[in-house]
């Protein structure tokens, strides 16, 4: 009997391995932000923050924050040497123009057609899309970063999103706390799974088409 335990850290650790040095990456607020803590030694990516900077650095020493230097979630941050600032039109020109290699963002639902819903639960939660629609439509590769299950126990990976979409057919990769998937050919293709889960267990508990590819393997991330 395998018991599911939510594990955000493993999602961040797996996503951190996707990038190579020099990639331009936008990390969404929340879980995706954790990815920056797990970048492998020697892999320096350029973090873009849609409120207007490249070269996003770590949080400042408490008390040393600058009121004019925040990330897109209003948290104080720093800028790395070589970074720069720009206005919102330039920022979204970078995003929409395909100059961001990867965007990793959280989801409410993601489906096997690559559709993503993450900005609205009608009548309940309507925070607005912020920059998410541009990021998902404009980035070269879109990574959905999410725990595999909702609190209710239903998988967030769906056959078809029921919530209003953030973007249609744009998601390329899905990293959850049970496995790493590629979205292709109208299915989630399992590339890696995380122990103690197994491909069979994942398929049984996810109401979506999951293909287990021939090269699929157990991740060495513990």
């Amino acid at each position: 009997m395998i018991e599911y335990l939510e594990n955000k850290e493993i999602i961040a650790r797996r996503i951190a391995r996707i990038f190579k040095a020099g990639d331009v990456v936008n990390l969404g607020i929340g879980l995706p932000t954790l990815v920056a803590n797990y970048l492998p030694e020697g892999v320096t990516v350029v973090l873009q923050s849609e409120n207007g900077m490249l070269g996003l650095g770590p949080a400042p020493v408490p008390g040393q924050g600058d009121k004019d230097l925040t990330n897109a979630g209003a948290a104080p941050v720093t800028i790395l040497p070589g970074g720069c600032f720009f206005d919102s039109a330039t920022s979204f020109g970078i995003i929409r123009g395909g100059h961001v290699d990867y965007t990793a963002l959280g989801v409410l639902e993601v489906d096997q057609e690559g559709n993503l819903a993450n900005y609205k639960i009608p009548g309940k939660m309507v925070p607005g899309m912020g920059g998410a629609m541009d990021l998902v439509a404009g980035s070269r590769i879109v990574i959905a970063a999410t725990t595999h299950f909702e609190k209710s126990g239903a998988a967030k990976l769906k056959r078809r999103c029921g919530l209003p979409l953030t973007a249609a057919h744009e998601v390329d990769l899905v990293v959850t706390d049970v496995g790493y998937f590629e979205v292709m050919g109208g299915a989630f293709r399992l590339l890696e799974w995380f122990a103690p889960y197994t491909p069979e267990w994942i398929r049984e508990r996810t109401d979506a088409d999951i293909e287990v590819m021939s090269g699929c393997r157990r991740s060495d991330i513990e």
Binding site: D66, M133, A137
Partner: protein, 226 residues
């Protein structure tokens, strides 16, 4: 270059009239013209349309609030056009209760619609929002083999912006991520009021390092001066 008037925050707020469309710079309160907004809150002008990236941070019951949040709570806006209202539960409440019309626009699209208004463009074409509710009611244009949404310019009556430094002619420099929508708002409105932290003489800002040219700016307000 001629000097432009330096006015106090309440005089600036008096230039905003009931029913006007107001463009406000800032991103979750970072880079927002807080002195002018406080004066506009005190003045209580209503029936305004707000164009702003977001409705800032509203902490009910004495929690941290900033930017335009208190003006939303005081119901000074009858219409809000923004990309994000998630850090202002009061905006969400007013929207769900039908008290305030809220139009949500993708952030990059909002930036380009404001820029288009300031740059004399008839609109912009973007793939952002295709296949979503953001495409509802909008025209589509095919260019080559790609389909785009037609997004229309978003001009305003008054822009309230924040800069780090101005010279007396109104040339502006922003600070770090406090720049965000401020230069765009400055281009798109009939009247532009910039709240600044430092004032220098004409010629003291290196012309290579001016972010917003003085011709866009009509009035200066010194930050931190009542």
């Amino acid at each position: 270059m001629n000097p432009i008037p330096i006015i106090d925050a309440s005089s600036a707020a008096a230039l905003v009239e009931e029913g006007m469309t107001l463009h406000v710079g800032g991103f979750l309160g970072c880079g927002s013209p807080d002195g002018i907004l406080a004066a506009l809150l005190a003045r209580g002008t209503r029936g305004l349309t707000l164009v702003c990236n977001d409705t800032a941070i509203w902490g009910a019951k004495g929690g941290r609030s900033n930017g335009v949040a208190a003006l939303v709570a005081k119901r000074q806006f009858s219409r809000v056009i923004a990309s994000h209202i998630g850090t202002n539960p009061e905006t969400q409440r007013q929207m769900n209760a039908g008290e305030t019309e809220v139009v949500l626009v993708p952030q990059g699209t909002l930036a380009e619609r404001v820029r288009a208004a300031g740059a004399g463009l008839g609109g912009v074409l973007t793939a952002t929002g295709l296949g979503t509710e953001a495409a509802d009611g909008k025209g589509k244009v095919t260019v080559g083999d790609r389909v785009f949404l037609l997004e229309l310019p978003l001009p305003g009556d008054v822009a309230l912006i924040k800069a780090k430094r101005a010279d007396r002619a109104g040339n502006l420099q922003y600070s770090k991520t406090a720049r965000n929508f401020n230069p765009l708002m400055a281009s798109a409105c009939a009247l532009v009021i910039a709240e600044v932290e430092e004032l220098v003489e004409i010629g003291e800002i290196d012309p290579e390092h001016v972010h917003t040219p003085s011709i866009f700016v009509d009035y200066l307000v010194m930050a931190g001066v009542k």
